[in-house]
């Protein structure tokens, strides 16, 4: 009798496991920009309905650097409070040990993802996180103003500078005193590393740290790029750009006060939204290049979902990651938040092409996007990035010439590297 009771209980337990009917409480953490939170909540509601699990969102500040510090603390303390982390594309090499290897659980679907995205999340054969959406910047421009002043869409940074200056001056002369030429992310944080890497690389100045770990950043082409950027601050760009992050830049552009803006894809959906003053008067193109013989560079961005090694609900968490990255949810995200998807098939979706026409066009940009040197510099990446953005920020603020700051940057990076990265 007693034995039978145990057996029954065991069978019942197995049955519950097999159908996944155990309702678990999951927690997902992300740093929301634009409409991310709203879309995520909607998708989680459907997930809760379908599976019976419940999911709580923990929201973080906008700055990726701030998020990193907090996640680092939680993970080092082996906290089980968070099950799923939304991770920046550059974090995988630094945080690999804290995450579940997703190679096995995702083996059946991984071939459908953009290879560059999967590669960025693979560290020594371990799939640290599953790519949720990609990011590749665009040059946003006011098509109405370009037309009004008879200017073409610029193809080089110099052309952009001249066009911005000309339109800004003309608009101001007409009484539009808040008009600026160009806004970007110039605050001293990871975003500036992305921006500056694009300037340098599109001028043929190489990478911050090359793939083989060598340091060649102190070169005349990099200096040329930074000198041009420094000339923007206080000229075509407001001086406050030195403290702008993504949302500050979008705020200025979307209020109609900038001719050009460098920003990630999420800004497209918001700037084209019904309540946006620039709704019908802007367009996007690829970032400019450095002129003859150079090509435009776009920093690879994007966010990925990792399952914490210390989660007490790993299976349910993996289920959640699979759910949030499935076709329908990626499609919704592409349409509502204009985030480039990580599933290749979504780029060919007719609805996406119709409602966010630039997404199919962005496939080649995403495919050729420039990764930051996180793979080459491993655990020292944050310090490398911070050293780089400090040098750039100093140059932009007029604290030393580009040449001097780059020479110092080279010395500091060499010192930081020591015998090896």
């Amino acid at each position: 009798m007693k034995y039978k009771g145990k057996l029954l209980a065991g069978i019942a337990g197995l049955a519950v496991l097999a159908t996944g009917a155990v309702a678990e409480d999951l927690t997902i953490v992300h740093g929301s920009v634009g409409r991310d939170q709203e879309v995520l909540r909607g998708q989680l509601d459907r997930f809760e309905e379908e599976t019976g699990h419940s999911v709580t969102i923990v929201s973080m500040p906008e700055s990726t650097s701030d998020q990193f510090g907090q996640y680092r603390l939680w993970l080092s303390a082996q906290s089980s409070d968070i099950d799923v982390y939304r991770m920046d594309v550059i974090w995988a090499p630094q945080m690999a040990q804290h995450f579940v290897d997703l190679t096995e659980p995702m083996a059946d679907i991984i071939d459908q993802f953009v290879p560059a995205a999967v590669e960025s999340q693979t560290v020594d054969g371990k799939l640290v996180a599953l790519p949720l959406f990609l990011g590749a910047p665009a040059l946003y421009y006011r098509s109405d103003l370009l037309e009004k002043h008879g200017e073409d869409v610029p193809e080089t940074w110099q052309e952009m500078t001249d066009t911005a200056q000309k339109i800004m001056d003309a608009e101001r002369a007409e009484g539009n005193s808040d008009m600026y030429g160009f806004v970007f992310q110039g605050a001293a944080y990871e975003g500036l590393t992305c921006n500056a890497q694009e300037w340098v690389s599109s001028y043929g100045g190489g990478r911050i740290v090359e793939l083989d770990g060598s340091i060649g950043i102190n070169n005349p082409k990099a200096a040329e790029a930074l000198n041009l950027a420094a000339s923007w601050v206080g000229g075509i760009a407001p001086e406050g750009v030195l403290n702008y992050k993504e949302e500050d830049a979008r705020g200025v552009f979307q209020s109609g006060n900038a001719v050009f803006m460098r920003n990630w894809n999420y800004a497209y959906a918001l700037a084209a939204g019904d309540d946006s003053p620039v709704k019908d008067t802007f367009a996007v193109t690829t970032l400019p290049d450095g002129g003859e013989g150079t090509s435009s560079a776009a920093t690879l961005g994007g966010w990925n979902l990792g399952v914490s090694e210390y989660s007490e609900h790993k299976d349910a968490a993996i289920e959640l990651v699979r759910y949030l990255t499935n076709y329908d949810n990626q499609k919704e995200r592409a349409i509502v938040t204009s985030r480039p998807p990580t599933l290749m098939a979504v780029y060919e979706d007719a609805d996406v092409a119709e409602q966010q026409e630039f997404i199919p066009l962005w496939k080649p940009v995403v495919d050729n996007a420039l990764p930051r040197p996180s793979a080459a510099t491993l655990r020292k990446y944050n310090e490398v990035s911070s050293t780089f953005w400090t040098a750039v920020h100093s140059t932009l603020s007029g604290d030393g010439s580009a040449e001097d700051n780059l020479a110092r940057l080279e010395a500091e990076l060499t010192r930081l590297r020591g015998p090896r990265w």
Partner: protein, 313 residues
């Protein structure tokens, strides 16, 4: 007789220790142990992920000469790190300027609040509001007020014709530190005012009456009577504020993180501890931060011959 007294005093000593024990244990757990751990980590190669595996490495985090061969080499470590010394300078500069202004404004406000006037209670409460708002909230509030495009400060100054172009208060390296100090002075002046006011209320009123009868001018009364009497209260308040200002973190972290112009010792330590994979190096910075504050405080107390044990009274 003598023996029984010593027995009594021994019992009393023992019970005194017993009564003190909970506090000593608490102090050890919350103060001595973490401090000791931090100092220990500063002599190891600890990283945040592998704290248990920390190995002793001597003073390498503080100073180390690395030979590159060919008689070439370079000093590494905190003591050879220009960014660290810049942070030390930023911290001291911030502390000196903001505490000076806070003391001055606090004194003026305290003198006003010490007078009899209608609605004094209300004003005294209202003055405390900046101090009551959590620092993160007030820093964020000021960050918006100082925003170059959407901020109200630029709007007001432009309307008044004080500036022609919006100023990027927290972004430009010329004004970033000033912006931080303005917010700090706004926030902690009430604290100074409160402590000085407490000192003012201890001054006996009859001294003023005597001075008045003798026809001493108000300013001389203040210099010769009030100031010397409230000086001990001011000095204690200054020490409190200086200690606080030397550890400043939250205001700067919210207003202008990551820039050389405002990075203080605490910001530098946090950056290495958590953002970079340099837990041991950050611990060394924390240890030096502790030493710097200790040296400055002790020097200040000795220089002003502050009466901490109440001997002179």
């Amino acid at each position: 007789m003598g023996k029984s007294r010593s027995l009594l005093s021994r019992t009393r000593t023992r019970s005194a220790w017993l009564v003190l024990l909970p506090m000593l244990v608490t102090l050890f757990v919350v103060a001595a142990w973490p401090l000791g751990r931090t100092i220990w980590f500063s002599f190891t190669d600890a990283s945040l992920d592998l704290m248990a595996d920390a190995q002793f490495v001597g003073i390498r985090n503080y100073l180390e000469y690395v030979k590159f061969g060919d008689e070439d080499g370079q000093y590494y470590g905190l003591l050879a790190d220009a960014r660290w010394w810049r942070s030390v300078w930023n911290t001291i500069y911030f502390a000196v300027v903001s505490v000076s202004f806070e003391t001055l404004f606090g004194l003026v406000i305290a003198l006003v609040l010490n007078q009899q006037f209608r609605g004094r209670g209300l004003v005294r409460a209202a003055v405390l509001i900046p101090w009551a708002i959590p620092t993160i909230v007030s820093a964020k509030m000021w960050a918006w007020m100082m925003h170059d495009q959407f901020g109200i400060l630029n709007d007001m100054f432009q309307r008044l014709g004080l500036i022609s172009e919006p100023v990027a208060w927290t972004a430009s390296p010329d004004t970033a530190m000033i912006a931080v100090m303005i917010v700090d002075i706004w926030k902690t002046t009430p604290f100074m005012a409160l402590l000085i006011l407490a000192g003012l209320q201890m001054v006996p009123q009859d001294i003023y009456e005597a001075a008045k009868l003798d026809g001493v001018p108000a300013f001389r009364t203040f210099r010769r009577v009030t100031l010397p009497l409230i000086l001990p209260a001011i000095l204690v308040a200054v020490v409190f504020r200086t200690l606080d200002a030397l550890r400043v973190f939250d205001i700067i972290y919210v207003l202008t993180p990551n820039t050389d112009a405002t990075r203080t010792m605490s910001v530098y330590a946090r950056e290495n501890l958590f953002d970079y994979d340099q837990f041991a190096y950050g611990s060394a910075a924390s240890t030096l931060l502790f030493l710097v504050i200790a040296v400055i405080t002790i020097t200040f107390i000795m220089a002003t011959r502050m009466d901490l044990e109440g001997k002179r009274s």
